[in-house]
Symmetry: C2
Subunit: 283 residues, 2 copies
């Protein structure tokens, strides 16, 4: 039997495991970011780990991100016998699968809009969640670029002003926290693939950016995103005053924070100490 070392396999596939130090620091960071959400009045929720493909299609996901999309499909009990497991390539042929009615989410907030669909929300709604997210990439690299990674988000749903104020408040929190943990961040407007790059929406976006990223060196570790009333409209999320809700979200790529902090501080222990000193007691 051939035995491969798990780190190599996992990192190459964008699926590394974390030992005690990484597990602890990720939790500490997540508790910190969640705590910011809670102190701002966010409802902590848990979203399903898979989303209906039909819902993602309705949100244009497969038009805008087809290269990143990963689906979940059950094994077909009959066809697995006629098109068996491909031992040489280590994979099930597509013909051995049932159709895929569920997708692996690429961002935590999609599930929040879907969870609120068809509902009226308060003008100042905030929700915070942390989910595993999945993006197929052309290559993977340690904790910097993973196929599966965790994203903590704090999502605003409500008036246009609420959505804008949310991003302004969290921009300030991110910048002061980064300074406190010794990370010099650069804020940059990003070309959000949420809109088709070739279309008129992309042009509009270059004129009025809807996504800003916070980069440590060349690595984006957080972002603030405004969606105008796109999700409110598509998911029929309404305000008491009538009309679709505006939404915005603040996203933290948790493994990327581990990457930045351990690179900056030279190891798990110093990185953890820096966060403990900066975060203070977690609520």
């Amino acid at each position: 039997m051939t035995v491969t070392t798990p780190e190599t396999v996992g990192a190459t596939r964008g699926l590394p495991s974390l030992g005690p130090e990484g597990t602890r620091l990720l939790r500490l960071l997540d508790d910190t970011f969640e705590g910011w959400g809670l102190s701002a009045g966010a409802r902590p929720m848990t979203m399903p780990p898979l989303l209906p493909a039909a819902d993602l299609a309705r949100l244009d996901y497969y038009d805008n991100f087809p290269h990143q999309a990963v689906l979940a499909a059950p094994l077909d009990l009959d066809r697995r016998l006629t098109t068996p497991f491909d031992e040489a390539r280590g994979q099930w042929p597509a013909a051995s699968l049932e159709p895929a009615g569920l997708g692996l989410p690429s961002a935590s907030c999609y599930a929040v809009y879907l969870d609120h669909q068809g509902r009226q929300v308060a003008d100042d709604t905030l929700v915070t969640i942390c989910s595993w997210c999945f993006r197929k990439e052309t290559h993977y690299e340690g904790m910097r670029r993973q196929l599966g990674f965790r994203m903590r988000e704090v999502v605003a749903l409500g008036t246009r002003e609420h959505a804008e104020d949310h991003l302004a408040a969290f921009t300030a929190r991110i910048e002061s926290f980064a300074a406190a943990v010794g990370l010099t961040l650069r804020k940059e407007a990003a070309c959000d693939p949420f809109f088709d790059k070739g279309g008129s929406k992309a042009l509009l976006q270059r004129l009025t950016p809807v996504k800003h990223e916070f980069l440590y060196e060349d690595l984006a570790i957080a972002s603030v995103n405004t969606h105008r009333n796109f999700f409110g409209d598509r998911c029929a999320i309404t305000l008491g005053s009538g009309g679709p809700a505006f939404t915005s979200c603040v996203a933290f790529g948790l493994e990327r924070w581990l990457s930045a902090l351990t690179r900056r501080h030279g190891g798990w222990e110093a990185a953890t100490r820096a966060v403990l000193d900066a975060a203070g007691p977690v609520t």
Copy 2:
């Protein structure tokens, strides 16, 4: 646009979301069970959310559980154009997918054996993890039977005695904790589909059960499992004395604990209070 209520969709598909109360109680329970592991000396780790299908195949997963298996497959950028999204059924045809090289895990501990493959472990190794697990079922039911659910495990790798002692110690902890939170549990030997039901291994298992479940009413909320040296052998996990490691694991189905506790106590608040009173301060 047709709008469906998310609870119905999520629950029907085995993918409900949790509000603040459920999110909090699940975390409290998970912290409690993790704390038992830590106090016994377990390494807290984080495992990848997807596992190589070749590894799962090598562990006989697709022979023993083909009816539950769910695969992860990227969208094929060319074939999605020739076999497009099926709007009527809300699914991508299998022909629009790439082959599936990764599987969604059905239990948390598979990743632990794979993470340790080809390594020598100490005679008394313990690892604790919590992962999303996925099992296709013929029907789903609230927090009792989900397609995607969370499983906290405390896994023993080492000598036969270590694996046995681990289950004995955690059996006692489960029974006393259940009594403290007001759940009357029944311990039953289970027919573990880990072994082929029709084979000689199944016969052996009926003679010497390898899995015991703890049931509240008719719902299994925890289990203790011994695998002899099956995973140690298949994954080449060795002991200092030579020979494959023995393994065992204790598993907690976290949403099922929520189901049992809210049913027993009549709601989130009373259920949470019962756990807080029983668990004491979490380490």
